[in-house]
């Protein structure tokens, strides 16, 4: 079997690097396993460094292995040997799977177990992370290096590690500049569109481009040795990756996402409520920051009906196009603004719900008092509640059947800190509140959706995910005016509720004549 024969030769040459990378994977997994429910900075710092090192070292090792039998140029000895091109390509793939993903998978699996996941959950999480690492694009988090499949393609198209780095950099920056230029011409800003509202469709398209592009490059190189064409494919592919993320029209991205809608979302409808009053605005509102980013927040009252009473409905992504009578157009700020729409136990969604839209300042200042048309697209995530658990507010611990493990501890004078760990590929919504059983009082519910509010897109980004939040009690130090106080902790418990996403649905509404100035919020003083 020549694939195995070539693989053994490569391993013989590269084993010190394979061992080094495996060691780095193992140390990284051990450190991440030590992070626990309440990660501290002393452990996080080396983890951050090691993650970067592993990303770069993996890219370099893949390129180096491919270039042990370099494809470009016309002097390589293997070209005149009876070596099947398929055997050579498959031997390189085997090396990547066994020597790079093998140790990574083992480390990931150990990390999952060390973090308290069951063997099945740890296996599932490690598999999904390795699959993502194979096709990832490296657009998130420094260092911005691609996954092993893209490294294989770049390595096959170049003669040296330096050339591979240069090609990746020139193609990546070139693709960004062209895609950014196009985005500027179409949408008016150079670098945008990486929003979560359309994240799923955008990222899936980008990963698809990587998959197809790498297959084309490997085929061109190993079966035709067409290096010039391979370079063109790499540069065009990098442009298409950027374009997938930056140029896809938000409405198309949202529609693609909702194309997978199933029965639970069919009855949902959305309408504008013109008779509603202005939204009440507090100083600490999370949306106040829009003003600092060049957007004017406008709150539109929306009525959302038709939700099945046993399900949760969460607004995942919103997008609005503002069109003035003079033809001027503007797009809303792409930042996702998650909005709980419905929770079980309520007869229907509270009405109206105020959805905030960031209107670009220049458009707002010139058109705020004119009637404009607004086209709104909203995607909803539909979730099914999966559990309700209670745990003591101090040194409490629980692991849900889904594998979400949470612990509690007191944050002196401020509140209760809830720290959770979950398998990286498990999309789940966790809500928690502090309830005093003696008085029957409860503090507000805090919610996190992991990962993010476009569930499936970010689900592969780690083996485990640490998250948590502080559940504040009434405190003069923080100014919190919640019902439950620190003195009531002993008789209180933290109530944890989990939900799993079922599907997505997109709804659109057109508001034909609306004056933006009439829908800014009213300031009501300091909030929570």
């Amino acid at each position: 079997m020549m694939i195995w024969h070539i693989f053994k030769k490569d391993l013989k040459l590269q084993w010190p690097f394979v061992l080094g990378l495996a060691l780095a994977d193992a140390i990284n997994a051990t450190l991440q396993g030590m992070l626990g429910h309440f990660p501290n900075f002393n452990v996080l710092q080396p983890v951050f460094f090691l993650n970067g090192f592993i990303t770069v070292a993996t890219f370099l090792l893949v390129v180096a292995v491919v270039q042990l039998d370099p494809v470009p140029e016309d002097r390589q000895d293997w070209l005149v040997r009876p070596i099947r091109r398929w055997d050579l390509l498959l031997s390189k793939l085997l090396f990547v799977v066994v020597c790079i993903h093998g140790p990574l998978f083992a480390a990931n699996f150990y990390q999952g177990l060390a973090s308290g996941l069951s063997s099945g959950q740890a296996l599932d999480a490690a598999l999904s992370w390795n699959a993502y690492d194979f096709v990832k694009i490296g657009m998130t988090g420094p260092p911005r290096f691609p996954g092993t499949l893209a490294a294989l393609a770049i390595g096959a198209a170049t003669r040296s590690v330096g050339q591979a780095l240069a090609l990746g950099m020139v193609g990546g920056v070139g693709g960004l500049l062209v895609a950014g230029g196009l985005r500027r011409a179409i949408y008016g800003d150079f670098f945008g569109g990486l929003n979560q509202s359309g994240g799923l469709a955008q990222w899936i398209l980008a990963l698809f481009v990587v998959l197809v592009g790498a297959a084309v490059v490997l085929s061109l190189q190993y079966f035709h040795r067409a290096t010039r064409s391979a370079w063109i494919v790499i540069c065009v592919g990098l442009f298409l990756v950027w374009s997938s993320l930056m140029l896809m029209p938000p409405a198309l991205a949202l529609a693609t996402q909702s194309a997978f809608s199933s029965a639970p979302g069919r009855g949902v409808s959305i309408s504008f409520v013109p008779e509603a009053r202005k939204h009440q605005f507090s100083a600490t509102s999370r949306y106040a920051s829009l003003a600092a980013q060049g957007f004017t927040p406008v709150y539109l009252p929306l009525n959302i009906t038709g939700i099945s009473p046993d399900l949760n409905l969460v607004a995942e992504g919103v997008h609005a196009t503002f069109t003035a009578a003079d033809g001027a157009r503007a797009e809303s700020d792409p930042d996702v603004l998650s909005l709980p729409v419905h929770v079980p136990g309520q007869a229907d969604a509270p009405t109206p719900l105020y959805q905030v839209f960031g209107v670009p300042d220049d458009f707002y200042s010139s058109h705020s008092d004119q009637p404009i048309r607004i086209d709104v697209d909203i995607t909803f995530g539909i979730l099914r509640p999966s559990g309700r658990y209670e745990l003591p507010p101090v040194r409490g611990a629980i692991t849900t059947p889904e594998g979400v493990s949470c612990e509690t501890r007191q944050f002196p004078n401020r509140g209760i800190t809830l720290g959770c760990i979950k398998p990286g590929n498990l999309p789940i919504r966790v809500s928690a509140d502090l309830v005093d059983h003696a008085s029957g009082l409860g503090n507000p519910v805090f919610t996190q959706f992991m990962p993010g509010d476009a569930p499936y897109a970010g689900g592969l980004t780690n083996v485990i995910t640490q998250f948590g939040f502080t559940l504040p009690f009434r405190s003069t130090e923080t100014g919190s005016a919640y019902p439950v106080t620190a003195a009531q902790i002993a008789s209180s418990s933290v109530v944890l509720m989990t939900s799993k996403p079922l599907t997505h649905v997109m709804r659109s509404v057109t508001i034909p004549n609306l004056k933006l100035s009439e829908w800014t919020a009213e300031f009501t003083g300091a909030g929570h």
Partner: protein, 299 residues
């Protein structure tokens, strides 16, 4: 024919490296591809080995289109080139052991014999070998599977005379009726007595190809002792490299015929005292033809 090219063209941008090359290499021959630097010898060989693709035309090697050479054919071809890049970080022994399974006909006894004859240090890494040692190494990797076709691209370049001798001794030891050798070289002395056929390339074009026997038969260095020193008013086009020293005129007759020489000389010079025609070596043939093509004379 074990190799045949048909109107082979290769372009690098605007440069025509090969211009309609058509050659035929008979099985069992030692076929020398000669020509000045940039004549297109290495391009021809790389096209035949499917290392580079022709721009136009085609070639067959072992009866198969050169673009479709598969491991079946490659297992019958030994290739040695002056600029062959082998993996530097492995040792001689390791690399030979790596290559062995790819060749169904690999003969381990022959391998041991060749390694001993070439004096290759098996433990030494390829990157630490001298140029001469590396060429021997390439040869040691090209012979143990008893190839049907041995392709040598400038194999003597940069080798000292001793290594050249060892190299050729080993090549010739393997040569037999079944082995065809295609060799491109500047070192024509080394091909003397070895080549059975020769093709002469100039700027990508084939000037001629024929067997050495025919070539040495039709080319003669002629010295004519004249009655008095005088340049002929007209000479046959087949006379190249004409020189006059005192009353002795010398030239290379590229269409030598014993019966016609005296008449041709008489027609050019009139009465002469003596005519002496001698066979010439490949090196002289190359120099004469190269000079003639450079000066624009017909070959």
């Amino acid at each position: 024919m074990i190799i045949q090219t048909d109107n082979l063209w290769k372009k690098y941008g605007r440069l025509d490296a090969l211009e309609g090359l058509s050659i035929a290499v008979p099985e069992g021959s030692t076929f020398a591809l000669i020509g000045a630097n940039g004549a297109g010898k290495s391009t021809t060989i790389k096209t035949l080995m499917n290392i580079i693709a022709p721009s136009r035309g085609g070639a067959t090697v072992l009866g198969v289109d050169s673009r479709r050479l598969s491991p079946v054919q490659m297992a019958q071809i030994g290739y040695v080139s002056e600029n062959q890049e082998m993996p530097g970080r492995v040792s001689v022994g390791e690399y030979i052991a790596y290559l062995r399974p790819f060749y169904p006909t690999w003969d381990k006894d022959l391998e041991a014999e060749i390694l001993a004859q070439l004096g290759l240090p098996q433990e030494r890494k390829i990157k630490d070998l001298s140029h001469g040692m590396r060429m021997k190494m390439a040869l040691a990797c090209a012979l143990p599977f008893r190839p049907r076709l041995l392709v040598l691209d400038e194999p003597f370049s940069g080798l000292d005379p001793l290594v050249r001798d060892e190299f050729m001794e080993n090549v010739l030891r393997q040569a037999g009726e079944k082995l065809t050798i295609l060799i491109s070289s500047h070192e024509l002395m080394e091909l003397e007595g070895v080549a059975t056929h020769v093709a002469f390339l100039n700027k990508g074009k084939l000037l001629f190809q024929e067997s050495m026997e025919e070539l040495t038969d039709r080319l003669r260095e002629v010295h004519v002792t004249l009655e008095r020193s005088a340049r002929p008013a007209q000479m046959p086009k087949a006379w190249l490299d004409f020189r006059l020293s005192g009353n002795v005129a010398s030239f290379v007759d590229t269409a030598y015929c014993k019966d016609w020489l005296a008449a041709d000389v008489a027609a050019a010079f009139g009465a002469v005292r003596a005519i002496d025609a001698q066979a010439i070596g490949l090196r002289s043939i190359f120099k004469t033809l190269a000079r003639a093509t450079r000066d624009g004379d017909a070959a």
